[in-house]
Symmetry: C2
C-alpha cells in the first residue's frame, strides 16, 4: 500500500516554539524535506501575526515551496481571511482546523463549532469563485476528535455529524486530529472506519500526537481502517499551544521506518530524511528533537517496502544530533 | 479481553544497570508492583554471579516474592543448573532464553541453538522428576525472533521450527522476543499468528523492546493476533546487555494505559503503579526512567476497561519523578 506522510513540522512544530525560525532556514529545511521524498508539507499558517509571529512569513515560505517540483504545499488557515491569503500566496491545499470540542475551538480559533463549519462553507464558496488555476484543495482536520483536555470525552456521534456537515459545506477531505494525544488504537480504528462510512472518499488522514506514547500504536490502527495519509513532524516538534499538556507530534523519522518496515511504500529516503533533521537541528540550536530511529539506526534487518530501493546508510548507530533524545 | 502484563523490570531492567540494587530495595519495589495489581513478575535470574553480580541475590528475592498472595514469581535461567536453582528457591515459573540467532545465542548463553533446545529438554525432564508441589512451569522466550543485530534478518520458518522443537522438548509455553527492537507490526502480527498455528495453546506471550520506538505499535499487532501475555518493564529500564544498540523495554505504565484504554482489562491500578515507580526512582537515584503517561497523566477521557473500576488520580500532570523524561 502507498501511504502519504504529510510533514507538518514547519507549521505545527515551529508555531509552538517561542523563537521564530528565520525564513531562509525554513526554506532550507523544507527543501531538504522535499529532497528526502516528502510529497506534502504544511509549510505555515495564515493567522494573526500578533498572536503567532513565528508564522508571519508564511506567504513567502509558500512561494518558495511552490518552486519545488512535485511538492503539495499546504498552509493552515482558521478562517476566510486566512484562507484567502493562503490561496493568494499559491498554496495547493488549505487545511482548516475545526475542533469537535466547543471549548477547544473557542480557545483555538474564537468560534463555536457551528461558526467554524459556516466559515468552511464560505471558504469553499470563495474557492469556487476563483479561476480554475487558483483554486486550492480545502481540507479540514477535526481537532480533539478523540477527546479534549477541557471537555474530557468527546461524542463520537458528534464528530461524525460534524464530518458530514463539513463535507456538505464543500471540504474536499475531512480528517481526524488527536490534538492532545488522548486517542487509543481501538477508538482510532473504529472512528476512522466510521468516518469512511460517513463521508466515503472525502475521509481524510489522521493527525496523531504522541503525548502519552501511543502515537505509532494509533497509526497501526488507522492503517487497519484504510487510512492512507498520516501527519507527522520531523523530530516530533510541535503540539497545539492552546491545549495544556500537549507535547509532541509523532516523529516523521520513526513513522517512515514503521511504514516501510510494514511494507507500505512512502517514497521517502531515510538517509536524506536524517540529513533534513540535521538542517533542522542546526537551525534550532539547543532545541530538543525526538525520535528513536535517528539514535538507534534502522537496524540490519531493515528493508524498504519497494524492493527496488536499497538502504545503504548506517544500520545501528544513527547520527548523533544536538538535542536528540 | 483480559491481558496479562508480565513485569520484567526486576530482572531485565536491573541486570542491565552497572550498579546493583540492594536486596531490600528489590523486594520493596516488587511488593509495590504486586500491590498495584501486577500478577506476574520476573524477579531475577539464576546466572553466574561473576557475570551478573546484580542478580546474585535472586534466590532470596524469589523467596520474598513468594510471600505475596496471588503473584506468579518468575525467574530466568539459561541452563539446567540455573533452572534447578530457580525451582529450589521456589519460582513458580522458569523462563529460559533461547535465541533464534546462533551468534546471539552463543554470545548470550554460550550454546548453539540446538544445545539450548537440548538444555530445555533436560530442564523439563528434571522438572518432571520433582514432587508435584515443586514443579515450576517452564517457559521459553525465543530471542532475536524478529531479527538480530549480528545476523540481520532471521528466518521466520526457522523460528517456527524452533518453537515446535521447544514445545516437543516439554516447554509449557514458547513466546517471541524482539531482543533488539527490530520487529514491525506486520511481522509481529504474522509471526504471532503462525506461532499459534504451530504450537496451539503452548503459544506464549511477546517480549518487545522499544529500541526504534515501535514497541506499542507492535503490541497492537500482537493483540490482533490473539496474544494475551505481554512483557514490560517499569520505567522502560533494561534491554539485553549483549546486544549492541539495544535500549529500553516497553514501559509498563504506557502499556497498561494502552491496554485499559483499548478495553483490555489488566487488573492493574495506574495510581498504585505510579507509586511503585516512585519506589523504583528512589532506589535508583539519577537513573533515567522512561514513559509518557507518568509525565502527561492519563488525561480526562481515560476510563478503565472494567467499568466497575474508577480512576480518581491526577489526569493531566503526573508525578514528576527524578530522571523521568
Amino acid at each position: 500500500m502507498r501511504v502519504l506522510v504529510s510533514e507538518v513540522g514547519p507549521r505545527d512544530g515551529l508555531q509552538s516554539l517561542s523563537r521564530t525560525m528565520p525564513t531562509a532556514d525554513k526554506i532550507h529545511w523544507i527543501q531538504a524535506l522535499a529532497a528526502a521524498g516528502l510529497q506534502e508539507i504544511e509549510v505555515g499558517s495564515f493567522v494573526n501575526p500578533k498572536l503567532l509571529p513565528q508564522m508571519a512569513d508564511t506567504a513567502e515560505v509558500v512561494r518558495a515551496a511552490r518552486l519545488l517540483p512535485g511538492l503539495t504545499v499546504v498552509a493552515l488557515a482558521p478562517n476566510l481571511r486566512g484562507a484567502q491569503a493562503a490561496m493568494q500566496a499559491g498554496a495547493h491545499k488549505v487545511t482548516i482546523p475545526v475542533s469537535a470540542s466547543q471549548a477547544h475551538n473557542m480557545a483555538n480559533v474564537r468560534m463555536t463549532c457551528e461558526e467554524s463549519i459556516e466559515a468552511v462553507r464560505r471558504i469553499c464558496e470563495y474557492r469556487d469563485s476563483l479561476p480554475a488555476g487558483q483554486r486550492a484543495e480545502i481540507e479540514v482536520g477535526i481537532a480533539s476528535a478523540f477527546g479534549c483536555t477541557r471537555e474530557g470525552v468527546v461524542s463520537e456521534d458528534w464528530v461524525m455529524d460534524m464530518a458530514v456537515r463539513l463535507a456538505e459545506a464543500g471540504a474536499h477531505s475531512v480528517g481526524l486530529s488527536d490534538s492532545v494525544g488522548l486517542g487509543n488504537p481501538a477508538q482510532v480504528r473504529r472512528m476512522c472506519a466510521r468516518l469512511r462510512q460517513a463521508i466515503g472518499e472525502r475521509a481524510g488522514g489522521v493527525h496523531l500526537h504522541n503525548t502519552r506514547g501511543q502515537g505509532l500504536a494509533n497509526v497501526v490502527a488507522a492503517l487497519d481502517a484504510g487510512v492512507t495519509t498520516i501527519d507527522a513532524s520531523q523530530g516530533g516538534i510541535g503540539g497545539c499551544p492552546y491545549a495544556p499538556g500537549a507535547t509532541g507530534n509523532i516523529v516523521t523519522e520513526d513513522l517512515v521506518y514503521l511504514l516501510e518496515s510494514m511494507g507500505h511504500d512512502t517514497g521517502i529516503d531515510i538517509e536524506a530524511l536524517l540529513r533534513a533533521r540535521q538542517v533542522l537541528a542546526q537551525a534550532l540550536p539547543g532545541e530538543a528533537l525526538y525520535g528513536h530511529v535517528p539514535d538507534a539506526g534502522v537496524g540490519p534487518a531493515f528493508r524498504y517496502a519497494d524492493p527496488a530501493r536499497v538502504y545503504a546508510g548506517p544500520v545501528v548507530a544513527g547520527c548523533a544530533m544536538e538535542g536528540a533524545v
